[in-house]
Symmetry: D2
Subunit: 336 residues, 4 copies
């Protein structure tokens, strides 16, 4: 079968297409024929050597959707032909994270999904939403689950809440759509008029141009009559964390999810105390969170935002498109 | 000014219209000109002598909306002309209930809102939703807040959840609308085809005829592929509590809210353990819960279900309409 | 190896000692040489045919402590010689219960621990507390974890809380000791002066004689200056549930754990609403809860209450001792 | 009566003793004869002009204990002679903080407790613990409540948890004692051998010398077998926040409480994500939290650590003692 291997940590050119033998599902495992995969910043950082130190070569990518093509001994959870998504954090079934369940991860240290077939334990996969294409479902395992975890597991967004999302990447667009599905109002930030328009089309009540308003948190305070947002999803890091705190109400929540700008996050402590903020660091979620997300997408017929789609032989171009930062929604790879 | 007094606990005929002097707002108080009020079963039970033992006479009713017509000394929270709803539990500002904040209640032991004017502490009132009429806003203080408390404060409904509501009374219809606003699916129960039709119009996915299916919990299991609902709102009591428990999933929640059938609730313990159910007894909510409810109704433009509307001189007829049990949504009294 | 089988559901005499071949640990499994086991009411109910409908014969008992005597392929979690307790609910690792993790249970439907050796998945066992004997550790899997789950996972007992425990069975004595370790005050109930004395020795502040005070909840109200307890652990069921509700403060919690008197639980709904009670149905807990319990017992050097100890060839007598209800703490079986 | 006024923001010398007329309790108020007060860093920062911008002159200090000497109209909550502590955040009764309840604070913007008599609303005071002297009870309103809020309201410490406290100031010593009362193990940090000794005497399992181990978080990892602490109380700010995050387990909690070093807090985001940390900003707590704290201190007979005690005419010396940072426990002022 065809796979792509990451053979060095020197950049996108370290990704090499090659052949590997078709794997066989062991007891309790399923063999999945991959139909679509999507990229995350993690994948780019691993290729560039700025994240992780896994043994190489490794098959990259964590997010995919495929079809069950064979069952290992004793598997009752799925049938051949089922559309499934493998779990990124393979052993995290439910509840809060614990040391012994967060170690095994698809796309590093475990081999990932940029392969025609992968074997995973049946318990490390979920049924894909009925109303989604394979490309759409392939956006869920990291970006969708992370947004869900932030809003509804570690956070507690309810109807009428005001939620702030930053930029138009995968997690932010899921957070926008899921917050809307939960009856919340959403304020987005974007420096692009085109992306602002698309965020509005997805339900954002307001979009703040963060170039025109570098202290965008002040606009959030104005837009909320001086009260502040209930929940801010921070994907930027650095000094932006202090801005996110400056945008929430007393007793509000900031979910820390990314570090596009800076791996350090900076807090203005007196301001944080004045607002009695809770800062939740988010790192994906459990299978139970994934299943709740799927139920939510089915109930609201939510369709994820798939950005540009590349072919299996266009992997380098896909990575470069993500690296350029011009995408809206998820960058995807279709397998056929 | 015109008021109605309950002068005995012998039934609806104990309600007597009379005159009282116009009250003056003391320091920190507001004078509210009542424009609309709504009835709850509590009011009927008090009139019939089956609930409470308050000193008589008392002005009945807890739920109203009116206009601020005068401010006591030091009041900055409201301005004259503001549309407001007084709190039913006057001193419960936020957080879980505590003994010293749940004692004072409008409509017993404190004088209620069936009067042209009432004085309440400014902190014991909230601004009415901008998009609602006085009649609509008058449905909120008990029925709306109780549904909010069950679903989002003591419960934790998220998008994609399945919520079961019983009958078509005030709390149940609020629970239906609020669960829908939060992205949940709703299964309702009703023995009337007409009411079933109206529940569907409000967004119920399914309506179970509990006369045709006395063990309606089995239908819920079928409709959820054997999994069970995430949350059941029980307003019936008696043996129905065991049915509600039989309708939830493992780890699900039943909110106990009423006792239309029986003041006793019966649990089948082995079944309850098997499902690891949480049973939340609900008794309205705090001012913070009320304010969150208002934000939610504004964000989703939710309009409460006002049933039949009576005039101020038709109070006996309004109580009798509630007693007959044929209403859909809240029974209301318009003051002018 | 020697095992005991339950061959019918006609009572204690259906338990028959026999031989089975020594099991071999498969991949990911451990072989445990059992050193001690303890009994739960569940075991008695299964033998009498009033609980479950498992395929027979079955090896009974759920709670044990033993020594790892061999490792299956790939096991890194334990070493040979480690003292371990198997999990009763074998697949419940952490978080709230879910349908697919609560099915497999030791002692029915899965074969239990009344055998010289048992094989379990390595992930379905925990290291025994360092300071406990095998007999003491064998009390933990159901009774200890259940008390932990009630007080600290589904409940939230903090220092200064008042906790009520009923009778002197295994769960109640763990609840007493764990509540004391958490800085709470404990009120116990017992009809035996001797047991009352022993409950006081374990730290109970007061013991109410429920024969002298059938409405023992009134004594709790007196002992708490009319405020009520923060948390009641109900192991009795029936009308006692209403008494438990009558013993808690406004906003308090009742954990429903057993049904010694009656499989039905009865609630006085108006009283339950007045107190805004939360009723948590408890059914053991996850491996994460078990590990937290173990850390707690080690930090406080808590030693479980082992009642009478029987030999492996005295199984019938052990069951009869439990059936007689005269025990204090757990009824145990020592294997050598 | 004698009071001290802060008449400028230029330092400790801006504190001036003078006379004011004895206040009279209005409706719902109590007159309290102050017997003891304690200092917080907030008081020092206000005197130095680095915190707040309140109208001057102001009576400083937030924390006191006194005796009710007169009751305003309608007060039933207390009797003359009761020992009470006024609330620092006067209107925060229970639940999470909200904008309209956190504005009024004793010691700025409201006049504080460095006066022979103060009037406060009866609902803005609590009964002092029965077993404490006035000096001891005067340590509770900020330092005690803050530690309680961190450990048991926004945090959730249970028996067997490992809690890290930093230094030997008021909040840290309360956190140490309360964590011990809850059955947790405590690791403290201190650069003074003498203070380390006293922390051990209060129950600390280990004390890390942060001068010898600037990366003290590594010692915490060693002391917890590589697992990390469950909860860290950070009172230092700056780069220490990253160290606190480096000291917790996966899924652990850091309470941010102070900024002795730096008003900015710095987070290493990849590390924070790896540990899925929750960061709770703490700013005192509600009256309900205060009452729970009092119940806990009574149940465990916890006695606060009172450091050096100054007379009413030694206020400047008391502030200078706090400024020198050599104290252990709370710096106090006795009024007679």
């Amino acid at each position: 079968m065809k796979v792509v291997e990451l053979r060095a940590r020197t950049g996108i050119e370290s990704l090499v297409a090659c052949e590997r033998p078709l794997p066989q599902p062991g007891p309790g495992e399923i063999l999945v024929r991959i139909k679509a995969a999507t990229l995350n910043y993690r994948d780019l950082a691993i290729a560039r050597g700025s994240y992780g130190s896994f043994a190489l070569p490794i098959v990259p990518l964590s997010d995919a959707c495929g079809e069950v093509s064979a069952l290992g001994e004793g598997v009752a959870r799925f049938a051949v032909g089922d559309a499934v998504c493998p779990l990124y954090v393979m052993d995290w079934m439910s509840g809060p994270p614990q040391a012994d369940v967060v170690a095994r991860r698809l796309g590093g240290p475990q081999d990932g999904v940029l392969a025609q077939y992968v074997c995973v334990p049946a318990r490390s996969a979920v049924r894909a939403p009925r109303h989604m294409s394979a490309l759409e479902a392939a956006t869920l395992p990291i970006a969708g689950v992370t947004a869900w975890q932030a809003l509804f597991v570690q956070g507690r967004v309810t109807p009428g809440d005001v939620v702030v999302v930053q930029g138009t990447g995968g997690v932010s667009m899921f957070a926008l759509q899921l917050a809307r599905a939960a009856g919340a109002s959403v304020i987005a930030t974007s420096a692009s008029q085109d992306k602002a328009q698309r965020a509005r089309a997805l339900g954002a009540r307001e979009v703040i141009d963060y170039r025109a308003h570098p202290d965008w948190q002040r606009r959030v305070m104005e837009l909320t009559d001086g009260r502040g947002a209930d929940h801010v999803i921070d994907v930027v890091g650095g000094a932006n964390v202090a801005r996110s705190i400056g945008a929430v109400r007393i007793g509000g929540t900031v979910s820390l999810i990314g570090f596009l700008d800076d791996t350090r996050g900076v807090i203005d402590l007196p301001e944080a105390f004045r607002r009695v903020v809770t800062l939740n660091c988010i790192s994906v979620g459990s299978r139970a969170a994934f299943e709740a997300l799927i139920a939510a997408t089915e109930a609201s017929e939510l369709r994820p935002v798939v950005g540009r789609v590349f072919g299996f032989d266009e992997v380098h171009a896909a990575y470069e498109h993500l690296a350029a930062g011009a995408h809206f929604g998820k960058v995807a790879i279709a397998f056929e």
